[in-house]
């Protein structure tokens, strides 16, 4: 029996740390810890609620749009503001394209490297690669000459000795199964994904007023004007450009992402049996019909709200936000009423109580408190959130677009729905969702275009903009289904200022430590049973953790001039 620690830690601050107990060649137990406390919510106390989105979008460099949206929804929910339809559609277009962009980046720039051995691509036969490419997709850049050039480019890059994004990969690890030609194909699409995202993100510049940080969020609507006769507003040319970008996005997902995903999955069938985890799934849902605030009304959500328990796809349970509560039994906080109770976010307490070892240390005391993340539970049950949760809830709810896409993908792989409860299932769900949302984004654009054509140019409801129209006290919450899962912002407004603000981020659900009842969090549960071929190179741990696309919502990134490694793998 031994213990592996994977810790991307710097001297100053930490992120996610995994301790895994290994017996023989298999993980028998695991602990997930976030080693940094941020307490971002405190920054918001006393500020104008209408400014909260600006601060919350700075929490994290990748999730900028999601915190901004959850924040304006929370304030709108508290004050009873309904934004106009155009604003809802623009927000949803930003959201849908954010999903597609985020998932493509996750797959090609992070997760694919868990399955694709980049260095092995140097051994690929360009002609064989072309044959493979043409057999799985009608993607245009698939000729022998193309792959010969890509291979030369990779060889040149490797020869320079600066592996950059590929440094410290576990190249040559026995758990890599793709043939060299598959690896070269994936590398070629890695390059194309760079180009794709460079263009696709222009959607946010068109709708957000500014890139990289969007400025369009506004309590009551959006800030970007619509005026068919103005160069400085959303006009016919903007809509045409959006359509072309969204169509390109759909093509890339259809012709590159999905075929690559199926290729990877077909070479790793055993990973449809590994990494299933909790089996309980929570989705807030997203993409409301009409002008509804999804915090108030789950009806008509394109991706439905719901809960799946014990992998049982025959029943979708409703979601009651009042049943969300957080434990700190194994988290570095204390509650006034004792550390074995769970508190709802509105009554949440964030009193730090660090009991962990002084760094540097070998192990955390996992019997006691061991993480800066609280343990949110729904009705006292640990939940997984994210793409798999969304696709399962939508599938079990009978959302046609999702049912068709999931059944098609399962058919291509020759497996049943039970294969979804796995590491590959989680990864596949992200791809399937990209396909469904790349299509849905065009529907949203159709709706926006039609609404503008009908003469509706309203983007903001300013009725309750002035603070003197607000009640003395108001509470509200904003639900948003972010790419990484169910996100909620909880706000209490007193005398026109923020009195309390709480954020429950998706990775808190997934990365949570154990609760008072000893229930594991989603990462912890998913790692049990994972095989480990080489304890010094725990590639398999990365596969399953990456399949969740973790975000510790800390996003503090600092350059270390001394070039110290920021991940330590310790085997003891």
């Amino acid at each position: 029996m031994s213990k592996i620690v994977v810790d991307p830690i710097t001297r100053i601050e930490g992120h996610l740390r995994i301790e895994a107990q290994v017996d023989g060649d298999q993980i028998t137990d695991a602990w997930s810890s976030c080693t940094m406390w941020r307490g971002i919510e405190k920054i918001l106390s006393g500020r104008d609620p209408r400014d909260a989105w600006y601060f919350t979008q700075r929490i994290c460099g990748v999730c900028t749009t999601v915190h901004a949206l959850a924040s304006v929804r929370a304030v709108e929910n508290a004050l009873g503001i309904t934004p106009p339809l155009n604003a809802q559609l623009i927000r949803q277009l930003i959201t849908a394209s954010q999903f597609v962009h985020d998932h493509v980046v996750h797959f090609y720039h992070l997760h694919a490297l868990d399955w694709v051995d980049i260095i092995s691509a140097l051994d690929a036969d360009p002609e064989g690669t072309a044959e493979l490419a043409q057999s799985i997709s009608d993607y245009p850049k698939s000729g022998t000459g193309h792959f010969r050039a890509v291979k030369a480019r990779l060889a040149d890059f490797v020869a320079k000795g600066q592996l950059g994004p590929f440094s410290n990969g576990y190249w040559g690890h026995p758990a890599y199964k793709l043939p060299p030609e598959g690896n070269l194909l994936a590398f070629s699409h890695y390059l194309d994904a760079l180009e794709f995202q460079r263009q696709y993100i222009e959607i946010h510049a068109l709708l957000g007023g500014k890139n990289p940080h969007l400025q369009t969020y506004l309590v009551g609507g959006v800030a970007i004007p619509i005026d068919p006769n103005s160069q400085n507003a959303i006009n016919a040319a903007t809509l045409a450009k959006l359509r072309s970008l969204l169509e390109e996005g759909l093509r890339f997902v259809q012709q590159a992402y999905i075929p690559d995903l199926l290729l990877v999955a077909s070479f790793y069938p055993e990973w449809t049996q590994i990494g299933g985890g909790l089996g309980n799934f929570l989705a807030f849902g997203e993409f409301p019909a009409g002008a509804a605030n999804p915090s108030e009304d789950p009806d008509g959500l394109f991706l439905p709200r719901g809960i799946i328990l014990n992998k049982d796809l025959s029943t979708v349970h409703p979601v009651d936000p009042k049943k969300i509560a957080e434990y700190v039994t194994h988290s570095w906080y204390s509650y006034e009423a004792g550390d074995d109770v769970a508190l709802q976010p509105f009554d949440g307490e964030t009193t730090p109580n660090y009991t962990g070892p002084k760094p540097p240390y070998d192990f955390l005391d996992t019997d006691g408190k061991y993480s800066w993340i609280k343990a949110p539970r729904y009705d006292d049950v640990a939940m997984e959130v994210g793409p798999l949760a969304r696709m399962l809830v939508a599938y079990a709810s009978g959302r046609k677009e999702v049912v068709d896409a999931v059944n098609w993908a399962l058919g291509e792989l020759g497996v049943g729905p039970e294969a979804l409860f796995s590491t590959i299932g989680r990864t596949a769900a992200r791809g399937i969702e990209s396909l469904v949302l790349a299509e849905h984004s065009l529907t949203l654009l159709d709706q926006l275009t039609a609404n503008i054509a009908a003469g509706d140019l309203q983007i903001h409801n300013g009725e309750l903009w002035e603070p003197d129209t607000w009640p003395k006290e108001a509470i509200g919450f904003g639900m948003h289904e972010a790419p990484r899962g169910a996100l909620s912002h909880w706000i209490k407004i007193v005398d026109q200022k923020i009195d309390r603000y709480e954020i429950v981020v998706p990775s808190t659900w997934n990365g949570s430590p154990r609760d008072a009842n000893g229930q594991r969090g989603a990462y912890e549960a998913a790692l049990i049973g994972t095989p480990i071929a080489d304890q010094q190179q725990p590639l398999e741990i990365l596969r399953t953790i990456h399949s969740f696309d973790p975000c510790m919502a800390c996003a503090a990134h600092i350059i270390d001039k001394d070039g110290n490694p920021v991940v330590e793998v310790t085997v003891l």
Partner: protein
């Protein structure tokens, strides 16, 4: 949208964690000088999303918070292109894709930058709080001057005639 200048000054960091945001503060201070032919962008903690902003530039100057065992808080450190590029990471999260990965990716995609340099300040504090510390505030002018020196050495801007900063 106007077409971008070949020279980019990128401020990096998270403004919610005091001096973590010193790079963004330095970028803003430099932006106030309105240097012709120089774009200034608040990169925040964006990772791979910075690719479109970075791609296709000939000169790239990065302001950021920097740690080094040899540096005391407030020290201004100049980073060479290799030091900016160097990054040895196994990533748990797409959020950890840092500027070194973005630069390598831009290069791989055929949008490499010719000249790269960084100017960093060792932080006084990384505690949660909006805005940089007063210590960092006092050192900001020197950080900006170090950035100007680099832009001058590249021939991107005219010498200002100001006294050059002293290297820490």
């Amino acid at each position: 949208m106007t077409s971008p200048s070949p020279t980019l000054v990128l401020g990096l960091g998270n403004e919610l964690f005091s001096d973590e945001g010193v790079g963004v503060a330095a970028m803003r201070a430099l932006a106030q000088q309105q240097l012709p032919g120089v774009d200034t962008v608040d990169g925040g903690t964006l990772g791979v999303e910075l690719l479109p902003t970075v791609a296709g530039r000939t000169h790239l100057l990065i302001f950021d918070a920097v740690t080094s065992e040899k540096a005391a808080p407030g020290d201004i450190l100049v980073l060479t292109a290799d030091e900016v590029r160097a990054g040895h990471q196994i990533l748990f999260s797409a959020h950890q894709i840092g500027i070194s990965q973005v630069l390598a990716a831009a290069e791989l995609a055929g949008h490499g930058t010719m000249e790269i340099a960084g100017v960093g300040m060792a932080p006084f504090s990384l505690d949660t709080g909006y805005g940089i510390t007063s210590g960092a505030e006092q050192r900001l002018e020197e950080m900006v001057a170090a950035g100007r020196d680099i832009l001058e050495s590249w021939g991107v801007i005219e010498p200002s005639g100001h006294t050059s900063h002293q290297r820490a």
